[in-house]
């Protein structure tokens, strides 16, 4: 059983989380369960949902690439909840499970990823396994593919999502029927 009971949908609506729940339902990541758990701390619920949504669904870096990175990170964090979620926008744009699997595996040798995509996947992979290797030379290489604004967008996205995945992974939440 989950260690934190989420708010009921009615209680979340009464607390004014309707717009966030609608946004969660539309994209699918995070879904309404995240809002109903964070709803225990109303100020956090709005801020964290907004941060996760903006960094993932908006911005200048390709959303499908960020979806691949997000799932790779969720698996790395041991978070079955976020690992099971899928972005409807990314699926609508053609992202399939085979590409997601490839992004979670040996992406370096996979020709389906460009050099820029491989750098972004490497950035996410190393951030929490070998952060000391994400140094000036690494960022200099990234700047051959991305602007500084895009790199900050990627870094913030990775930090936000991995942090929340670590926490949500400890809550023993039920997962949907999607692959994890």
């Amino acid at each position: 059983m989950a260690v934190v009971e989420p708010l009921s949908r009615d209680d979340a609506d009464r607390a004014g989380f309707g717009p966030m729940l609608a946004e969660a339902e539309a994209l699918g990541v995070p879904d309404d369960l995240f809002v109903r758990i964070m709803g225990h701390v109303p100020g956090y619920a709005e801020a964290l949902h907004d941060a996760l949504h903006r960094s993932h669904a908006l911005g200048d870096v390709d959303h499908s690439l960020k979806e691949i990175i997000r799932i790779r990170l969720a698996r790395q964090a041991g978070d079955r909840y976020f690992a099971a979620l899928r972005s409807r926008a990314a699926a609508d744009s053609g992202l399939d499970e085979a590409t997601i699997e490839a992004g979670s595996g040996d992406f370096e040798a996979d020709p389906r990823f460009s050099d820029a995509e491989k750098w972004a996947l490497r950035y996410a992979s190393l951030m929490f396994t070998a952060p000391q290797s994400v140094d000036k030379a690494f960022y200099d290489q990234g700047k051959t593919h991305y602007t500084e604004a895009q790199i900050m967008e990627l870094g913030s996205f990775i930090a936000f999502h991995y942090g929340m995945q670590l926490f949500m992974g400890t809550l023993n939440l039920p997962t949907g029927d999607q692959g994890s």
Binding site: I37, H40, V41, I158, A159, G163
Partner: protein, 88 residues
Amino acid sequence: MGTAPETIDEAFYEDLARHYSVEEIVELGAFIGFNVGFHVFFGTLDFYPMFTPDGRLVSQEESRRVYGDKPISQVSGAAAGADPEAAE
């Protein structure tokens, strides 16, 4: 959370619930997750404080000399082991 998240299980949360409400536990968990994520990210950016412990606005190069490589308090920075000559 940041080093052994698999040990934060139901028993851990039951113990936590003896001290904190559900609201406080969610607040703590989200706060810690957010901070783990962002501290690691910011650590890779190699930034140092803009001000020395005595309040001088300094360049990143000078700040690096003042604070050194170990994470130390901005308040006690120079006195806690950074290069004393650089702090003068």
